[in-house]
Symmetry: C2
Subunit: 313 residues, 2 copies
């Protein structure tokens, strides 16, 4: 979003190779065209190429002020359309988090019963999807003007009354909701969780398609995530699904979700990686040629396959 993704801030790394040799991948500079980009090759390599022991990040000034809004929508699709429209209007929020009503309701219960700190924020009747939109900067006036522009944009997408966090405490509570969704969703039931990412403009098709796939395969999903980046976390709930179907049928549904994602210009993982769980689906996202290049790179770094063997591909 406003500041891009974390990996863009990584400029140099100390790495211990499988051979035991220690290298620095690059230099402590903002621009570098000196040989291949080993730094970004290491980022997201899931420990299959080397062990990262030091990381050098580029830094940016810390913004002095933030505005935080919780924006309710009648449907997921309208919330997703609103996200793309906000960016298209030239506003670049520092945070743009999405959650379904069910995610919030489960989190309210979790905060109350498990954390013992009930949420005081109320969900409006008939509002089924929520955006947590944060703007930051150093100029109050500019922030308020952008906040008003956000309000004007979202009005076009069946949004409800926008909740402005009035105090640090209220901001904290809104973030508390977002941050506890994952434990809350995993509290009552087993889940299988995905981390798909698509171009922002295709988010409405993605979320509609996921719900359709859920209906066909008979599973309920709770969705939330970093939709400003097009990155959606799909939690598939086991609930009363039999172990047999959970192990044999549901993965086919997950495959359908990945096929849909890729057909929308997206891919399997925005941030959590592939590991073992998503490895069987890699051919949905890329060709054998890509995979063989990656296998070849793995061999160059780790000829004896001692680092995370069997991960990714």
């Amino acid at each position: 979003m406003k500041y891009g993704v974390t990996r863009d801030y990584v400029i140099n790394m100390e790495v211990v190779l499988p051979s035991g040799e220690i290298i620095w991948t690059a230099a402590n500079v903002l621009k570098n065209s000196t040989g291949y980009n080993l730094t970004q090759l290491m980022c997201g390599s899931e420990g299959t190429l080397g062990i990262i022991t030091k990381i050098v990040f580029k830094l940016r000034g810390f913004p002095q002020k933030t505005v935080l809004m919780m924006i309710p929508f009648v449907t997921n699709e309208e919330a997703c359309k609103a996200i793309a429209a906000i960016f298209t209007a030239g506003i670049v929020p520092s945070g743009m988090e999405f959650f379904e009503r069910e995610a919030a309701e489960r989190t309210f219960e979790y905060c109350d019963k498990v954390l013992g700190s009930p949420v005081t924020t109320k969900l409006t009747e008939g509002m089924n999807a929520y955006l947590l939109c944060e703007l930051d900067g150093n100029d109050e006036e500019v922030l308020m003007r952008d906040a008003e522009r956000v309000m004007t944009v979202v009005e076009k997408f069946q949004s409800g009354e926008v909740l402005f966090a009035e105090s640090a405490a209220q901001k904290e509570e809104l973030w508390k909701i977002r941050k506890n969704i994952s434990p809350a969703v995993n509290w009552h039931t087993l889940t299988k969780s995905d981390d798909v990412v698509v171009p922002r403009a295709n988010l409405p098709k993605l979320i509609t398609g996921i719900k359709e796939i859920g209906k066909r395969y008979g599973f309920n999903t709770v969705c939330f995530g970093h939709l400003g980046d097009g990155n959606l976390h799909v939690n598939i709930l086991k609930e009363n699904i039999s172990n047999e179907r959970w192990e044999n049928e549901i993965p086919k549904g997950i495959g359908e979700i990945f096929k849909l994602t890729v057909s929308l210009g997206g891919t399997l993982s925005g941030e959590h990686g592939i590991g073992i769980a998503k490895r069987p689906y890699m051919t949905i996202a890329m060709s054998e040629v890509n995979l063989n290049l990656m296998r070849g790179i793995k061999k160059v770094f780790d000829p004896n396959e001692i680092l995370n063997p069997g991960k990714i591909f």
Copy 2:
């Protein structure tokens, strides 16, 4: 600088491999943790891994307003110190270009005699280094406030009277100076040009050291570049240096410049790459282990060495 480097905007590529196979390196998404980062591996690979036939960039809103200032300084060192201080003050210019007085003088002559469009801007007596500092954004007030903050910062570094571009035409003229430095410097004489990059805070030591090395090896340098990124272009002028010394002695001086750069946490190339000219110096910037990893990656993509053989390493 404000928007980072170009490669950070590249999210996906179509690449023709030496085998003739065509791949997409990634997906059209802002975040991606799906296998190794082939996109950034291709960026800056200088045509040694594949032929890039399509590139997908992420986009950002186009800023509506800019402020452009030319700031003179008594010495290169003070100009370099001022750059680090501006960023440390939390101001992030959209452009921060540096040039020595000699670069400007040669450019004025070049614009007059070669381009036939004389520069009307004057250089103040006793001011030997210049910064072209551009701020951009959508809010005039914020821009002017930041411009004033820049003025306050540079006052501490023996700066002269700041020239504010009053009109589009004047902005164009200031950029014309910067953009014609390279042809101007290469007009009268052969040059060897470097593209070193260091952490911003080490720019004063870099430029002082380069001048000392020039004295020792008997060459004159004209320096300019993107110092907001720590990226300095060093033009070594042949002038009346004999061909023998130009071919045999001066490269040793260049090696000294690279050693200094690396000792300051920097590296050989910020943007132009290594090619053949800088290949002999690669071991100054990285270990044999790094180079062998790169050679291994090259073999994975191009086992028959048909793409730019002998480039980089």
